[in-house]
């Protein structure tokens, strides 16, 4: 059986890739992908911990319930995010985050 630490390292890597993408990429669509990756990484951790905390092969389902909620919320976030990106594209003809400069000190 794969030990818990493998799942956690995989999850941490995925999370870092997502966070790096969200911070460094300029295209807002790609940033949104990075954000989804962060939530997916958290889900991997949740399910792995849910197995590890369980006794005799029965996982603690609390964490898996949260994973389901996270999926639902991630979907809602993408829906709102894509709507905002469409509005941004209509207003500016582009989805580069570097063009978001009308609000500043």
């Amino acid at each position: 059986m794969t030990p818990l630490s493998h799942y956690l390292i995989f999850s941490a890597l995925l999370f870092s890739i997502g966070l790096g993408g969200a911070i460094m990429r300029r295209n807002v669509l790609v940033v949104l992908m990075g954000l989804e990756l962060m939530l997916t990484a958290a889900n991997v951790s949740l399910v792995a911990f849910s197995r590890a905390q369980g006794l005799e092969g029965v996982p603690v389902y609390d964490a898996q319930v949260l994973a389901l909620f996270v999926m639902a919320i991630a979907a809602a976030e993408v829906a709102v995010g894509l709507a905002l990106i469409v509005a941004m594209f209509r207003a500016r003809r582009g989805v580069e985050s570097t063009s978001l400069t009308s609000l500043k000190d």
Binding site: F15, G18, L19, A22, I23, V28, V31, L32, L35, M38, L39, A41, A42, N43, S45, L46, F49, S50, A52, Q53, V60, D62, A63, V65, L66, F69, V70, I73, A76, E77, V80, G81, A83, L84, I85, A87, M88, R90, A91, R92, S97, L100, S102, L103, K104, D105
Partner: protein, 480 residues
């Protein structure tokens, strides 16, 4: 005021009555908008405000949860009244002003967000906390970008979405590690203590607390997760900025209370780790105070100014958390109440100025002292309360923040004495930047073509009620 009881985690349906009512109302409004085309759409915000005022009265009580629910529902009601006052711009944003479209969603979204806040206040475990917090946040993204033809509003929405989603990711990861180390999503102090004392798990729980705090600092507007606040407040429609400044901030601090509660119980047990947590919170509070108050000084746009002001005020609230005492719930509530009333008044007056003078700069307040002396006085009271002038509620709120810090200094092993001079500098700089608005009202000459501003009866009524509350709470210390 009783403390939030964390050990008992059973939920009852009755606790969530406000949430169900608000969600039901929001759905009804959306259905009515779709299927009753002749229905007068002006009624929606008024209806929403009435029902949330009713809920505020219904939930009123002496427990901490009911006080926070009352404040959230009442502030939502004021924001909806502001949306009603602001309706011309709302219609213009959706259909170029030809139809009265867009009023329904603009009413339903704050109601849904308020439903999330009411659920968050009752949440006692991380699953509920996360879902409730995301309900607030998702509705807020759509609200911030609501004026989709307006570059500023769309930019505010996109910025809020990106930064907010990063903080959501941190929060979920923190929740996962909290579960992994303590075996439960409840912040039960016994489990937390067991994890802290286990050398294999103590690093994990520190990671999880760091991630959870980073996620929640975003909502509360604390440094280093504060960067969205000035931009989003400036770009979002004014009623939405008011909503974010008051209701969403309240959600952030309630979440922070819930997360830190196990550590309040443990503050005398694991001494080294608690000292570390206290120093961390003190550093965050100091940075928040400095960034908010010093950043506000050069601002010319009133919404940006109020954004930095909300960061600065969050710093004063964070000072309560530095003490990690079980008694902080009531001063935090009182501070949020004084801050909320004054901020809502300022945004309400600003919404009227935006519609009639077409500007949100501080200079839009010019000459109000001569043309509208009564309203100018009420705006003066609201900004004076934000600055902390004696005889207003804001003064007593700031005073209690100082008292909380000083009371920790007299105890042995205090580590945060350096916070006091920072608080003094920041409180003093508040007098400078809030009074820029007063200077514009009383000393700047009106321009030649300035028509006197007519404040609607609704706006005047809200401002009068707010002024009375601020002065009564400031003169008769009922709360503080």
């Amino acid at each position: 005021m009783s403390t939030i009881n964390l050990i008992s985690t059973s939920y009852t349906w009755e606790q969530f009555t406000p949430t169900f009512v608000l969600v039901g109302l929001a759905l009804l409004i959306l259905i009515a908008d779709a299927f009753l085309p002749r229905f007068n759409k002006k009624v929606f915000p008024i209806l929403g405000a009435l029902i949330s005022t009713g809920l505020a009265c219904f939930t009123a009580g002496s427990s901490a949860s009911s006080l926070f629910s009352t404040l959230a529902c009442a502030a939502t009601a004021v924001c909806l009244l502001m949306a009603y006052d602001y309706r011309k711009l709302v219609y213009a944003s959706v259909a170029g002003g030809e139809h009265e479209d867009g009023a329904a969603e603009f009413t339903a979204l704050p109601l849904l967000a308020c439903a999330g806040v009411c659920a968050l206040i009752r949440s006692r475990d991380l699953i509920m906390l996360f879902v409730a917090l995301e309900t607030v946040t998702l509705a807020s993204y759509a609200m911030a970008g609501y004026f989709r033809r307006n570059q500023g509003s769309v930019e505010a929405g996109v910025k809020y979405l990106i930064l907010g989603a990063v903080s959501t990711g941190l929060l979920v990861m923190g929740a996962a590690w909290f579960f992994g180390t303590t075996g439960s999503f409840r912040g039960d102090p016994r489990f937390v203590l067991a994890a802290l004392c286990n050398p294999h798990l103590s690093a994990g729980i520190l990671v999880s607390m760091g991630l959870l705090l980073a996620g929640i600092f975003f909502k509360a507007g604390a440094v280093p997760m504060h960067t969205w606040i000035p931009d989003v407040y400036q770009g979002a429609p004014t009623p939405v900025s008011a909503f974010l400044a008051v209701v969403s901030k309240l959600a952030g601090f309630v979440a922070l209370l819930i997360i830190l509660l196990p550590f309040v119980y443990l503050r005398t047990t694991v001494n080294d780790m608690m000292q570390g947590l206290i120093v961390l919170l003190a550093v965050v509070a100091a940075a928040t105070l400095l960034v908010g108050n010093l950043g506000a000084i050069p601002q010319q746009n009133t919404k940006r100014l109020l954004g930095y002001s909300s960061i600065g005020q969050a710093g004063f609230i964070l000072v309560f958390f530095v003490t990690l005492q079980p008694t902080i719930i009531s001063p935090v509530f009182n501070y949020l109440l004084a801050y909320g009333i004054a901020t809502l008044m300022a945004f309400f007056a600003l919404a009227t100025l935006r519609m009639q003078r077409g500007s949100e700069d501080i200079s839009a307040f010019r000459g109000l002292g001569k043309s509208n002396p009564r309203t100018a006085f009420m705006i003066t009271v609201s900004f004076a309360s934000l600055a902390g002038v004696p005889l207003t509620a804001g003064f007593l709120a700031k005073l209690s923040s100082f008292q909380a810090l000083v009371s920790t200094l007299i105890r042995p092993h205090h580590v945060v004495h350096w916070l006091l001079p920072i608080m003094i500098i920041c409180a003093a700089s508040g007098f400078y930047y809030y009074f820029k608005v007063l200077r514009a009202m009383y000393w700047d000459q009106p321009q030649q073509n300035d028509a006197p501003v007519t404040f609607s009866p609704l706006c005047t009524a809200v401002l009068t009620a707010g002024t009375l509350l601020l002065i009564v709470l400031g003169v008769i210390p009922l709360l503080f």
